[in-house]
Symmetry: C2
Subunit: 399 residues, 2 copies
């Protein structure tokens, strides 16, 4: 029986797990990313470190059971309601680290710098007060958290987006970071964001970033949906990773990444579950490929003529994204599949991954190890029930 | 706890369940629907009534466990290899009826008329010999099968496609059928099919059908992907049902149905799992909506301003398609969800369906009844293990 590598999850906002499936009912024919964001802001207001810990623990159990062995936590819910600092300014960050430690998943914690409400530099709105930092207290937060690094913990840095981080702040933060620290940024997810950037910086977001930052292998560009061909080639050449989040990008109506051109230029990519309306590498990878098929009218888009298997190509690519995007090498992160499942009858080592990703709906993950430690057996995390019970209590407080 | 209606599955080719996940590895940059069809033909060659019964039984168990309570079986694998007739010409049809009876699912068996290999009337190719009929033996097959109708069995009729059924045969068959019998047809799935129809019949497929057949509420048009606006409105006005198969249409790179215009014109639709690379109303409905979001850059496409919930709108529509497309009224076909699942914590009757369809990956179906009889409890069909064991043996013969 073949052992598969654990999958790195490159993009997560853990608290959003609590609202999965609850933002599909606005009865608004103009519903869009921006109306969804209002729902998300209302949910964000209610969290404290204990509820965040409970929700993140449940999420990480679900990730491990689905075959994710590490998570990049793009974390912007830093402060108490209204922006009041917690006694420990890292309290919310530590809640996430505790959830990772309790469940055993590896975490790349990416505290998010969030400074303004738009490209014009307007101050944060009332609901964004919990997200805000200046450059100095942001760097102090990162410095404090670096003491927590270990076998399963990396501290990176995230810039929320070009609209939320002025150029001078971006320069100051990026130049102050250790050279090996991953830097993640949301970019070019929405057409409105591209238009604002063009209007105020006279360039498209990715175009501007490539011109104004030393984008290299330590950078992960999240979404990067709306690209002109020169931007697509520029990202591929930079060595950066693109974090694609197919289920969230579809749920939010973002659009489709120009995969074929990006692959032709040799670009690197991984996947993330982002808003957690789905927590499954199978659904992300399946629909990453399917979205491209719908756009092109062809099959087998990610695998070129020299690859025998779409599934193997996808799996290899997302695992290759691990080191640069997460800071981990993934040693001892493995999973096995349930070879007794009907989807896998007669499967052999060469068609196993295609069958896993492209057939059926039952979760086929049987065992999961992180850093050599077994956390999931028979598809069930060792603390599934305890953590689910705590999650239930937290959700009752949040709803 | 709210009881939900069972979901009708409007389009199934049961034998294709055996190749789910095995057609993703051609390493062919020109891979398309047509190369996929070659793989499918190779698999079709190997079936006999016993293996078809075993594979269909496994499929129907999976359907029931996922919440489908009836299936329209678009059945064209009629004869022995090379086109030799079985002693009982209905042997393969009866294998499907037996699988339905063994599992308890309702079946609308749609024997398929398949006469030629293209719009130019060319004879069937070697691999299509198992599918073929003349008008008379086809009507005799339908007549023989009608004796099997009962509480959970309806016999309808399918025309494979315009390319496989000459006009005179279509007219002869449709006029000979009882007026209340459902008629299904594959139509406008592929651009190549639209081009051939334009070249040889001087009209697009749906345009031609609307002009040359009395398309009304007894008709189900499967896929109908490639439509001009006048065709979209024409189908909606006809009272026909469109059977959308989002996972298969994505897997095959077919394209996206013009949902927004069709709904504006009051069109009826249901869903089908078709090639069975997915067997879940959740994945079909989720991605039916998501595909439209990706195409439009908006959210909440199927629910208008007067509907509070995308999920409720989808569920209502696909259940409304039941009577015309399947011939059943669905009385006693119900399901309940596992209210202890983490996705449903705090759910109430109004957000239950949104949460079911738009969050998570674990199958939430707890109990399923068909015609008042309980077939699934705790998410597991009463004969899951026996039927899976028989499926394993069949697959070993087929691979």
């Amino acid at each position: 029986m073949r052992t598969l590598p654990g999958i790195p999850n490159l993009h997560s906002h853990a608290f959003q797990r609590a609202m999965a499936g609850m933002a599909e009912r606005q009865g608004n024919p103009e519903d869009s990313f921006w109306t969804w964001r209002e729902t998300m802001y209302r949910m964000a207001e209610r969290f404290d470190p204990d509820t965040l810990h409970a929700v993140a623990s449940q999420l990480y159990v679900e990730m491990l059971e689905a075959g994710y062995t590490s998570v990049c936590e793009f974390h912007y819910l830093h402060h108490a309601p209204g922006g009041r600092r917690y006694e420990d300014p890292a309290a919310m960050s530590r809640a996430l680290l505790r959830a990772a430690a309790d469940t055993g998943i590896r975490i790349t914690l990416l505290p998010v710098l969030y400074m303004s409400g738009g490209f014009d530099g307007r101050p944060l709105g009332e609901r964004q007060q919990r997200f805000g930092h200046g450059v100095d207290d942001f760097l102090a937060l990162i410095q404090a958290l670096r003491a927590e690094q270990g076998e399963r913990v990396r501290i990176g840095c995230a810039l929320h987006s070009l609209r939320a981080v002025p150029q001078a702040a971006m320069d100051a933060v990026v130049s102050a970071l250790p050279r090996d620290m991953p830097v993640h940024i949301h970019i070019a997810e929405q057409v409105g964001e591209v238009q604002d950037c063009l209007a105020l910086r006279n360039a498209r977001p990715v175009e501007w970033l490539l011109d104004n930052a030393e984008v290299d292998a330590r950078w992960t560009l999240v979404h990067a949906t709306h690209l002109e061909p020169a931007e697509t080639r520029g990202v591929a050449r930079s060595g950066a990773t693109v974090a694609l989040c197919p289920t969230t990008e579809a749920n939010l109506g973002d659009g489709l990444f120009p995969m074929r051109d990006y692959l032709a230029a040799g670009g690197a990519y991984g996947i993330g579950s982002d808003s957690h309306i789905s927590v499954s590498p199978v659904e992300e990878l399946r629909w990453l490929e399917y979205g491209q098929r719908l756009a092109t009218g062809r099959r087998n888009i990610v695998a070129g003529a020299d690859s025998p298997s779409v599934g193997e190509t996808l799996l290899q690519a997302v695992c290759d994204s691990r080191r640069n995007a997460t800071g981990f090498d993934g040693e001892g992160d493995t999973l096995t599949l349930d070879m007794h499942a009907p989807q896998l009858v007669g499967a052999n080592d060469t068609d196993l991954v295609d069958r896993w990703i492209f057939s059926g709906n039952r979760n086929l993950v049987d065992t999961v190890h992180v850093a050599g430690e077994q956390l999931v057996s028979g598809g069930i995390h060792r603390d599934r029930d305890t953590i689910a019970a705590r999650y239930r209590e937290a959700i009752k407080k949040l709803l």
